[in-house]
């Protein structure tokens, strides 16, 4: 559901902290027809040019508030609303090389009336913003 909209066309860039590139960031939207409390968002698997990044290390930022994978698990107030753009930061020393990348995303959502973990998938070619 909404799979083709999960990865944002914009906002794909390296992340700089204290003058060093520590990772990269992409924009994400929820693969579901309603918003969910963060405790029910079981994370994101990001694959860039065939290299998979573990979901436990991503940082999810919604309305400017960052959450680690672990923090999300016990976050019962903050929600990720339907269609709302959030940022996903993936740690990678030195970041990604300039140019286009093949970016794949899998979202894992724990929806109460579904007997299994729902997955939503998108894949896009994105140009790294400088």
């Amino acid at each position: 559901m909404f799979d083709r909209y999960l990865i944002g066309e914009n906002g794909f860039r390296n992340v700089v902290e204290d003058g060093k590139i520590t990772g990269f960031q992409l924009e994400v939207r929820i693969g579901y027809y309603r918003g969910l409390g963060l405790s029910m968002v079981e994370g994101f698997e990001v694959t860039v040019d065939g290299r998979q990044f573990p979901r436990e290390q991503n940082v999810f930022t919604v309305r400017g508030r960052p959450f680690t994978h672990q923090q999300m698990e016990t976050e019962y107030d903050e929600r990720w609303e339907m269609g709302e753009v959030a940022q996903l930061t993936v740690p990678l020393t030195g970041g990604l090389a300039a140019g286009s990348h093949d970016v794949a995303l899998v979202e894992f959502l724990r929806v109460s009336y579904v007997p299994f973990i729902t997955t939503a998938k998108d894949r896009k070619t994105l140009l790294l913003e400088s």
Binding site: Y5, G35, M40, R79, M82, G83
Partner: protein, 327 residues
Amino acid sequence: MSRIKRGVSLYSFQEEFYLRKLSLEQCVAVSASMGAHGIETLAEQMMPGYPKLSDAFYQQWHEWMRIYGTTPTCHDAFLDTKRYKDRLLTLDEQVVEVTRDIKHAARLGAKCIRMLVICPPELMERCAPIAADHGIWLGVEVHSPWSIEHEWIQKHLEVAYRVGTDKLGLIPDMGIFVERFPRIVYQRSLRNGAHQNLVRMIVERYDSHEGVHGLMEEVEKLGGNSEDIGLARTVGHFVSGDPKKLRDVIGAVRHIHGKFYEMTEDNREYSIPYNVIVPVLAEAGYDGYISSEYEGNRHLQDAFPVDSVEQVRRHQRMLSKLIGEQE
């Protein structure tokens, strides 16, 4: 002319809302422009921040209802029984959740709440007096793959009749009357690489109403790929009930979901026989809303632009005609 009223579930416009092409107010306005004056809402879809909505929001909401001449009909509640990773919500916690939904529905000015079909009958019974105190009726959605005759729904009916159908009942979703398998669903399978011959076999089996038990295994043996097998699984989630069954339960029905997948250019639903359903409801004396609920977007959005507004407009035209409204 029957006394059936026309409404829209804003669920119908999820594609446009998701993409920020329509706001909540615009969804209300466009419904009103079609003569669909009953507005059904999903707070968790279009009211960001729920359950913590401000007084200003509710004021704005009532202002919109006044401006557009619309009436709030139903609040669609969810129930996050799996909020905690390691355990399910207890029944007491579920009652707290539903109480929150009841208060919200009352503040919207809605008359009823759509309860998910997974809600246990005990929860309905516990919540009935709380809802009644707020002037809210609770209806369990009869949604595929369940059907009216299903034991689970019958249990809910028993509770409703015992507690009072002025407090509890059913909200049948017209997706329990899928006579012909929606083509937008299997066309997507074909786009994704399903085999033409296997798709034909699966759809013919569904349309024959002879049951689809064992179909997945059969498709697998015939060399079906994951798309073929997936479609064989999907048809098992659709239900082709007899609309006349609505007569048996109409006393417990105060709201109806007018689910639809595809309205054709001549204002017909491709798969659901509304021309049979609406007369059954009219003859049974149903005088509540039929709330148009479009669910085609998810089957089209991978390859086509979605126009939910046009789809709902056609559904409303069809309802208007079947209800017998004056031109």
